[in-house]
């Protein structure tokens, strides 16, 4: 375990498109980041899934690196962030916001697989680094950001929030 009091900076910032696909068979959603100028939009089968293109929007991906010890946290498994406005008492994300108080803001970090069939989500190291990075840059005393992995949402499809995404005019299809 690192003893460094990390001072995170964004590194490997790259621009591209977040492509969202849906399975016609099981209704699962999947997403991937593409730096291609022409995005793949063809349907295809992958195991039991029949993926169909749903949407795409401009996005930016980045990693975090510690200025002090040089550790780099890869965030390839994070597809986006959402400010949670969920008030469902059965949702762990909503409970985090309630426990944190009025000046605590919970942001959900989305992974690529909405089903979480494999049990995987954004890595714990990634969540911790994101939380430390955003809080480390806040200058407003009393304000706090909690980053939570989307696997903590009661249901990604119904969890209320504001996705930080460039939808609409920046969509290329």
């Amino acid at each position: 375990m690192s003893t460094c009091s990390h001072k995170w900076s964004m590194v490997n910032i790259r621009s591209g498109y977040l492509v969202v696909e849906g399975c016609r068979h099981c209704k699962a959603r999947s997403s991937f980041f593409s730096t291609e100028t022409v995005l793949p939009v063809d349907d295809y089968q992958d195991g039991e899934h029949y993926w169909t293109y749903l949407s795409s929007f401009q996005a930016v991906k980045f990693d975090l690196a510690c200025d002090a010890c040089g550790e780099v946290v890869n965030l390839d498994d994070m597809m986006g962030l959402m400010l949670s406005t969920c008030r469902n008492p059965d949702c762990e994300v909503a409970r985090l916001a309630t426990q944190g108080g009025r000046r605590t803001w919970v942001y959900v970090a989305f992974c690529a697989d909405s089903t979480h069939a494999t049990g995987k989500c954004v890595s714990a190291a990634g969540i911790q680094a994101l939380t430390e990075y955003f809080n480390g840059n806040i200058k407003d005393p009393g304000k706090k950001v909690i980053v939570a992995p989307c696997i903590k949402c009661k249901s990604i499809d119904t969890c209320a929030g504001i996705v930080i995404a460039d939808t609409g005019l920046t969509e290329i299809y």
């Binding site: 930016v60 962030l81 407003d140 930080i164 460039d166």
Partner: protein
């Protein structure tokens, strides 16, 4: 320079109650994904965007105030969210270039 002083010197119209923070820089962007990688805490964000996701992004990086150029005004629910965050919302009829020039003239960079 505080947000209120900047607003007065550049002729901005305020859209909400907000924290009067010390301004520490400026960022211009119309993409929310770009804002979270480029805007800084206590900075002024200049944009044409009025979508609610703009507030979600600006709040994450602790932006002090947002200036909507070309007279763009956000919807009530956007202002309501900004009120909860303490982010100041302002509007100007100037375009982005003219407003950026004005900021430069008063020493905000």
């Amino acid at each position: 320079m505080r947000v209120s002083e900047l607003a007065e010197k550049t002729g901005l119209t305020s859209l909400n109650e907000h924290n009067d923070k010390q301004v520490e820089g400026v960022y211009i962007s119309d993409m929310v994904s770009d804002i979270i990688t480029g805007a800084k805490a206590n900075g002024i964000l200049v944009t044409l965007q009025t979508h609610k996701s703009l507030i979600a992004a600006a709040n994450l990086v602790d932006v002090a105030a947002i200036v909507f150029v070309r007279g763009k005004k956000p919807a009530d629910d956007v202002v309501e969210l900004a009120n909860k965050t303490g982010i100041g919302l302002f509007v100007t009829d100037m375009d982005t270039w003219s407003f950026a020039t004005k900021l430069n003239e008063i020493g905000v960079k």
